[in-house]
């Protein structure tokens, strides 16, 4: 075993590499902040200020009351106007001046008073399925609330939605994005940067020098990835702080537990980075492999953007081996539901298992590759 000072010197070198490449460092620290703001505001503005039109061929007391209801939902709707028929909206939908329309029938108040079932149509701009789904469910909620508040004996509206979307809108707010965002940022910082930093030494030929030295392969690997544990941890803190200060994302559970789980996921990600680095011959290959093998699954198969339940079954099965899937369940549980370790030990165990497997494979392969 080489002297502890040997390892310390090696670690100092790694820190110097990172600090000296300040542009990359700036990106690694600024990116999480930019992403929180982007995701947060993008999601918000889409479900706010919806340009709403109401089609009422025959205005009466009921249509006025319903219109007032929509106008009263402050912030959600920007009321464009009332129209006599749907045909008048065609061009406005196309140029975006109207994104949603509620179409009321003739003799609306009269028929409701008689207790007839009345059909109301909601037309939604479905060009963007995410926001479309959210707008649709929002409008239905307003209609139902209005119907219930009207005090009729039974619900009178039969609501028929013109643009049916199979998409399951769970993305009502920034709250759900933050956990996925943490996973995404950590995947980039830990997996991609680890893979790149190890492959860079191979590319430069300095890895051989290290392996010929008294340093053990294990020490080389630990020394190379340790600084990225710290960087990843800082990123978690940045994302959480920004989410809290800017978007007031609820934080119901234990911060300590969340940070501990984050460290576990950081180790998971850098294990993936190590595995990738053993197969990549150049930094460019390492980067492409990290994108394909870690970033895309984290984006698409983790429940971050698309709910797991909405995926076809082969992809659902595949999502079980995507570490971010389990991490996102854990973070959402802690942040939004206030779940404790007793509720999350199952997911934690799976994540720890995946990590142990990746780390063993990665370090062993690296040692064989190099040694």
């Amino acid at each position: 075993m080489s002297a502890p000072s040997a390892f310390r010197g090696f670690l100092v070198k790694e820190v110097r590499h990172i600090l000296r490449d300040w542009q990359t460092l700036l990106v690694l620290m600024g990116m999480p902040l930019a992403q929180v703001l982007l995701f947060g505001y993008a999601v918000r503005s889409d479900v706010r200020n919806i340009n709403l039109a109401i089609v009422e061929p025959q205005p009466d007391a009921a249509t006025a009351s319903l219109r007032a209801r929509f106008e009263g939902s402050s912030g959600t709707y920007r009321f464009v106007g009332t129209f006599a028929n749907v045909a008048q909206l065609e061009s406005r939908f196309k140029d975006g001046t109207v994104r949603q329309a509620v179409v009321l029938p003739m003799r609306f108040a009269e028929r409701l008073d008689r207790g007839e079932r009345v059909q109301v149509q909601v037309i939604t701009d479905g060009a963007d399925p995410n926001s479309g789904g959210i707008m649709e469910s929002d409008a239905l909620a307003v209609l139902r609330r209005w119907d219930a508040a009207r005090g009729g004996a039974r619900p009178a509206l039969r609501i028929d939605v013109a643009a049916r979307m199979r998409f399951n809108p769970t993305l009502e707010s920034v709250n759900l994005f933050v956990p996925g965002l943490i996973a995404f940022v950590l995947t980039i910082v830990s997996a991609m940067m680890t893979a790149i930093t190890i492959v860079r030494e191979k590319e430069l030929g300095t890895m051989e020098m290290l392996l010929v030295s008294p340093l053990r392969p294990r020490q080389v690997v630990i020394g190379k990835v340790a600084p990225y544990v710290l960087l990843g941890f800082l990123d978690v803190v940045i994302v959480l702080t920004a989410a809290q200060l800017v978007f007031h994302v609820p934080f119901r559970g234990s911060v300590t537990l969340l940070l501990a789980e984050s460290v576990l996921f950081i180790v998971t990600s850098l294990s993936m980075g190590i595995v990738i680095s053993t197969n990549a011959s150049s930094q460019r290959v390492a980067m492409m492999a990290a994108i394909a093998m870690t970033m895309l699954p984290t984006l698409l198969l983790s429940g971050f953007i698309f709910p797991i339940a909405a995926l076809p079954w082969p992809l659902q099965a595949l999502s079980n081996v995507v570490p971010a899937r389990w991490f996102i369940v854990i973070v959402r549980g802690i942040m939004l539901k206030g779940a404790g370790f007793a509720d999350l030990w199952h997911e934690t165990l799976i994540l720890a298992g995946i990590t142990a497997f990746l780390l063993t494979v990665g370090v062993r392969r690296l040692a064989v590759r190099l040694g």
């Binding site: 010197g9 300095t206 392996l211 010929v212 030295s213 008294p214 190099l370 040694g371």
Partner: protein
């Protein structure tokens, strides 16, 4: 010469390197085929051969980057198969890519190497000053390595590989890509090193450099085709130049 090196005894041999029947196969391809040779302390030993002749593979087995498929070897008296830890402390290595970090300064590179080889801070400071003075780089100690000219980088890399005073230094095509004057200066450094008792094993495909070696071995298809002092090798083969011998060995079908 006073010995400031690792004082572990060389086990049962005075040779710096001793290889017997060393072989390395990759699948069905035999890169190094049953080579036997030794290198004495203070000797400059050249590994000569065309690209792919097996010289780098042979070196990688000796420094512990590859496991031999068959045969055995000792380096500094320690077995390649079982004592690679001890070997690592007693050898220096420099590849054709110089193994310096471009984004670290001259001083930081020296400190890194010193630290990795377990030197104390005082030892590092003392050897660093002497080294920089010898190279005339004292004013450049805070310069990033990437802004040094290639020749200086090469000399720095070599000096750094000797910082822990290894018993044997391995140089893998150390003079690739540098001009003849710089190469000449580099070989002077190799001689100075050998004069202190350090064995030098150097691979090259420059035939003029082979003439500078105390002894050399010419490798063809993984085997040692000729071995000895340059003059002896030429005389035995009845050729005037190493060039002639090399071409004859490398392409036997076209030999005169």
């Amino acid at each position: 010469m006073t010995s400031q090196r690792d004082d572990s005894p060389a086990l049962g041999t005075a040779h710096a390197i001793d290889a017997t029947g060393l072989t390395r196969r990759f699948g069905s391809f035999t890169a190094v085929d049953n080579i036997t040779f030794h290198v004495m302390p203070g000797e400059v030993f050249g590994f000569l051969g065309a690209n792919g002749a097996g010289k780098t593979t042979a070196m990688r087995m000796l420094i512990g980057l590859l496991e031999p498929s068959a045969g055995q070897a000792t380096v500094a008296g320690y077995s390649v198969a079982t004592q690679s830890e001890l070997i690592r402390r007693n050898i220096g290595y420099m590849s054709q890519r110089f193994s310096l970090y471009d984004d670290l300064t001259v001083r930081e590179n020296i400190e890194l190497y010193g630290g990795i080889y377990g030197l104390t801070d005082d030892e590092i400071a003392g050897r660093q000053d002497a080294l920089l003075e010898r190279l005339g780089l004292s004013a450049q100690r805070r310069t990033l390595v990437k802004s040094l000219p290639l020749g200086w980088k090469q000399q720095l890399a070599f000096s750094v590989a000797l910082l822990h005073r290894p018993r044997i230094v391995f140089l893998d095509e150390p003079t690739g890509g540098v001009d003849p004057v710089t190469r000449r200066r580099f070989w002077e450094m190799i001689y100075e090193t050998a004069a202190t008792g350090t064995a030098v094993l150097v691979t090259t495909h420059y035939l003029d450099e082979a003439e500078y070696c105390d002894r050399l071995s010419i490798m063809v298809d993984g085997r040692i085709a000729a071995m000895g002092a340059p003059d002896d090798v030429k005389r035995e083969a009845g050729v005037a130049t190493l060039d002639e011998l090399f071409l004859r060995l490398a392409r036997p079908g076209t030999a005169a």
